[in-house]
């Protein structure tokens, strides 16, 4: 973005693109200078900002602590310039399910940024030298990275502490990084990664190894069905280019991938429906005036008023899938499917270093098209990003084509803890493929 100063660039990203839902405005804070600047998705707690996670129910909530990732970047000299727009609690694929405005795609303001870390991807695309903290549950880093033409890394589940992350699905949520410059991701991943006693699931990780090589990629046939022509074309070109770089491309079958989507939505909504239970007007959510009712009615009133449609839908879905009589059929079965998907990846990783697919089946849609999509169509758009998320595998999305001037992303998936392999691939790819920045008019 052409702007003379960082505060000006942040202001324009907020006002013209809706990338930020709250930004650092204090000129003195900018004056002091910084080693680098970064943003945090609005579901990451940061002292000095509200943490609303796109939800009206958290309006006015100012957390008393920093998320670990935010804290570590601050300690490394980073300046937190704002909180980025997102779908409410991460529930969405286009960042359109929010109480705080819809971010606009830097390549075309009429199009969606993708989601749910849409604001993060927009900020990464718009601001020079910017690092955006994103969060992925089922593809919320890959998807907007692809639509906004930036690189998005989702680390292995448990690699980055989730302390201070407002939960969507705790067994799936991962804090990651988006940037137009993959070197920044390589530089700052080690800062945010590593064990944190405040998140027990981060304690068992092996040390981060940023070495790694990619000599072969596996392309599952199942991933190539249902792609738009533009995406298919860009991806085929990318495969040819990779072969040109001496990387072997193997076609494989991964039949279990098609079970990943329903299993993911069952687990994610089951967990989400318990995570959202606390927002009932007692401590979080406005205390409504009608305190003379029974607590159930009081809670229902706050929740009815302050949750958006998609949040309500997922609470209902998730409550259903864990009910007595249905739990075994849905929740427990989904846990088994997760193991099946993990095993299928493990099998493919015996013969290939990464699994490679397009990130999204189409380019960033127009916002009016998004408005016409039915929930199930939206969920289905995640069929390529969900499997690695369900399996807790690290993955990276990077631009691989610009048909009609709109970015197409491809997504590489590596074995657990092998983030280094993904960064190696990104380096090799970036050396031979020219990333474009959006043309932003002054």
């Amino acid at each position: 973005m052409i702007a003379n100063t960082l505060p000006e660039a942040v202001r324009r990203a907020a006002e013209e693109y809706g990338a930020f839902v709250e930004r650092l405005e204090d000129p003195l804070a900018y004056e002091e200078g910084c080693a680098f600047h970064f943003s945090a998705k609005d579901n990451l707690c940061a002292v000095g900002f509200q943490a609303r996670a796109g939800s009206r129910v958290l309006d006015g909530y100012r957390p008393p602590f920093d998320a670990t990732a935010v804290e570590r970047l601050r300690q490394a000299g980073g300046l937190l310039v704002g909180k980025t727009a997102m779908d409410e609690f991460g529930f969405g694929t286009f960042s359109t399910n929010s109480a705080h405005g819809v971010p606009r795609n830097p390549f075309d303001r009429e199009r969606a940024c993708g989601g749910s870390s849409g604001g993060a991807a927009a900020a990464a695309a718009l601001l020079e030298g910017h690092l955006a903290l994103g969060v992925s549950t089922g593809g919320s880093i890959s998807c907007p990275a692809a639509f906004c033409g930036v690189v998005g890394l989702t680390p292995t589940y448990g690699r980055v502490s989730r302390w201070g992350l407002i939960d969507y699905g705790n067994s799936l949520d991962k804090v990651g990084l988006l940037s137009a410059d993959p070197a920044l991701i390589r530089q700052y991943l080690p800062i945010i990664a590593g064990p944190d006693p405040r998140d027990p699931t981060s304690q068992a990780q092996p040390p981060l190894d940023l070495g790694g090589e990619v000599g072969s990629v596996a392309v599952p046939e199942e991933a190539l069905a249902g792609l738009s022509g533009e995406v298919r074309g860009s991806f085929d070109d990318a495969l040819a280019a990779l072969e040109g770089m001496g990387i072997e491309v193997r076609r494989v079958a991964m039949p279990s991938l098609r079970f990943a989507l329903p299993a993911y939505y069952v687990l994610a909504t089951s967990e989400a429906s318990t995570n959202l239970a606390r927002y009932c007007g007692m401590r979080f959510g406005d205390i409504n005036e009608h305190t003379d009712q029974s607590f159930n009615d009081f809670f229902a009133q706050t929740r009815s008023r302050d949750f958006g449609r998609e949040a309500k839908r997922r609470v209902l879905l998730g409550t259903f899938t864990r009910m007595v009589g249905f739990r075994d059929r849905y929740y427990t079965k989904a846990l088994q499917v997760r193991q099946l998907v993990i095993r299928e990846y493990a099998r493919v990783f015996r013969d290939a270093d990464v699994v490679l697919t397009p990130t999204m089946p189409f380019v960033a849609p127009r916002l009016e098209e998004v408005g016409r999509m039915r929930p199930l169509e939206m969920y289905q758009a995640d069929f390529l990003t969900v499997p690695p998320n369900l399996a807790g595998l690290p993955h990276i999305s990077m631009p691989c084509g610009y048909p009609g001037g709109l970015p197409v992303g491809m997504q590489a998936v590596a074995p657990h803890w092998a983030e280094g392999r993904l960064l190696a691939l990104a380096d090799r790819w970036g050396a031979g493929f020219a990333y474009r920045r959006p043309e932003v008019r002054a």
Binding site: L44, Y61, P200, A277, C280, M282, M323
Partner: protein
């Protein structure tokens, strides 16, 4: 009659189950943090000490221990529950299938698991203008839940079960003696076919009262030819009755799912490596098998396990009978004072005294005095100053009691009276052997 109990006992850890907050907060809402208040973005970390205590209880109750356990979310909406779900254990309790003996009967234990306590609601203000206040100091307090099979046969037995269980747990993990008043239980009771559940009873006494009321109520219904409805009732502490609980209050479908934030815990090796101490009632049972009357054994261990130690130290040296007499007599009488002073030397001194009585070198009353002295009783500093050394004391007492000198000529046992007097004035400073010797010498001189 069949009664089953679900008992919640607080584990005596210093910090809460999932955060570092103190378990001893006094001022309402003073021991709270983002974790136990359920702040968005906070997450739990398990208190290892609580896990160890829970495992030792499961092992003590003879449960099969699960190799690997995890936690679950039990979701229900209630104003005292910060997250509107409680972190508990569902599929994998610490242990299952144990038993606990009460009054010679074996009561089945279905499961033992850990869970967090919710906050506490206090209603204040006049009737009609009541306000409910929530104190979250209790939120996250570690509880162990123990579920019994419906093996108890009367309200009295249910209470006896709880009394004995708490005695053992107090020794095993140090649960608070206040737990007799604060232990919380749900009780299932069926007199006929259908069972009724009484929820949220606090304190041992109330468990018995609630069950008694319910047993009578159900028996009367049956006697009147009526049917008992399967239902959940609540205990009314003030009236001592049970009332039907409102349907919604105890939602049965908690929609359990795993708690992903805590991960899994392998407790099998921990349980196997654990060496449990002998608990008071287990010890009483052993002493009983070894020949001590049941009531005596129970009295001994309930007074103090150290007293029982003393008993077991005396047994091989002076025999069971003398050991019992001295343990329940002089030692128990002075126990309050003795307790803090019982180092090995003192114990040895007591044993030697009792042996002395057995062999006749120490008189019974002398030994009692010496034990009292060891307990720190009646030691007055003037006595030695006034009495001077032993010889002077003996001489003085002999002077004061010419009648004894007269008796002694024909009856040497008369000396015992004076020996006793010397021991008394000497406040245990002199060995009885010395005293007896000196006294005899002195009397011989005068006869």
């Amino acid at each position: 009659m069949k009664i089953g109990l679900e008992i919640h006992v607080q584990l005596p850890t210093r910090s809460k189950l999932f955060c570092a907050c103190s378990t001893a907060g006094e001022e309402p809402n003073s021991a709270v943090c983002p974790v136990c208040l359920g702040f968005p973005g906070s997450r739990p970390s398990l208190n290892r000490r609580a896990l160890e205590m829970g495992v030792s209880i499961a092992k003590f109750l003879g449960c099969s221990i699960n190799e690997e356990v995890w936690f679950s979310r039990k979701t229900y909406f209630y104003p005292d529950l910060p997250k509107n779900f409680q972190i508990t254990q569902y599929e994998t309790p610490l242990g299952t299938n144990g038993r606990f003996e009460v009054g010679g009967r074996s009561i089945g234990i279905w499961r033992v698991h850990l869970e967090e306590d919710p906050g506490r609601i206090r209603r204040v203000g006049r009737a009609g203008e009541e306000v409910a206040l929530v104190d979250y100091n209790r939120s996250g307090i570690p509880l162990v839940e123990i579920v019994t099979a419906p093996d108890l046969t009367s309200p009295e037995e249910a209470r006896a079960f709880l009394v004995d269980l708490l005695i053992e747990l107090r020794h095993l993990v140090g649960v608070s003696p206040q737990d007799e008043q604060t232990v919380r239980a749900d009780a299932n009771i069926s007199v006929g076919e259908e069972r009724v559940e009484i929820k949220n009873i606090t304190g041992l006494r109330n468990v018995e009262r609630g069950l008694r009321f319910e047993a009578t109520r159900q028996s009367r219904l049956l006697a009147a030819g009526k049917r008992i409805v399967r239902e959940t009732r609540r205990f009314d502490e003030e009236r001592g009755t049970t009332l039907p609980a409102r349907e919604k209050e105890f939602e049965e479908d908690y929609g359990y799912i795993g708690e992903p934030d805590l991960g899994t815990f392998t407790i099998g090796p921990m349980a196997r490596a654990m060496v449990l101490p002998e608990t008071p009632l287990a010890r009483a049972a052993r002493l009983e098998r070894e020949g001590l009357p049941a009531a005596t054994a129970r009295q001994m261990v309930l007074t103090s396990m150290e007293l029982a130690d003393m008993f077991e130290m005396l047994c091989p040296r002076v025999g069971r009978e003398a050991a019992t007499t001295w343990t329940l007599g002089a030692l128990t009488a002075n126990w309050k004072e003795l307790q803090g002073r019982l180092d090995d030397r003192t114990k040895e001194e007591i044993a030697t005294l009792v042996e002395g009585v057995r062999s006749g070198t120490v008189t019974d009353s002398e030994a009692k005095l010496r034990i009292a002295a060891l307990a720190g009783k009646e030691v007055t500093p003037e006595a030695p100053a006034e009495g001077g050394d032993l010889e002077a004391l003996v001489a003085r007492l002999v002077d004061e009691h010419p009648e004894v000198v007269k008796d002694y000529a024909t009856n040497p046992k008369a000396a015992n009276f004076l020996i006793g007097q010397v021991m008394k004035e000497g406040k245990g400073r002199y060995s009885s052997k010395d005293v007896a010797e000196k006294m005899r010498k002195e009397l011989e001189k005068r006869v």
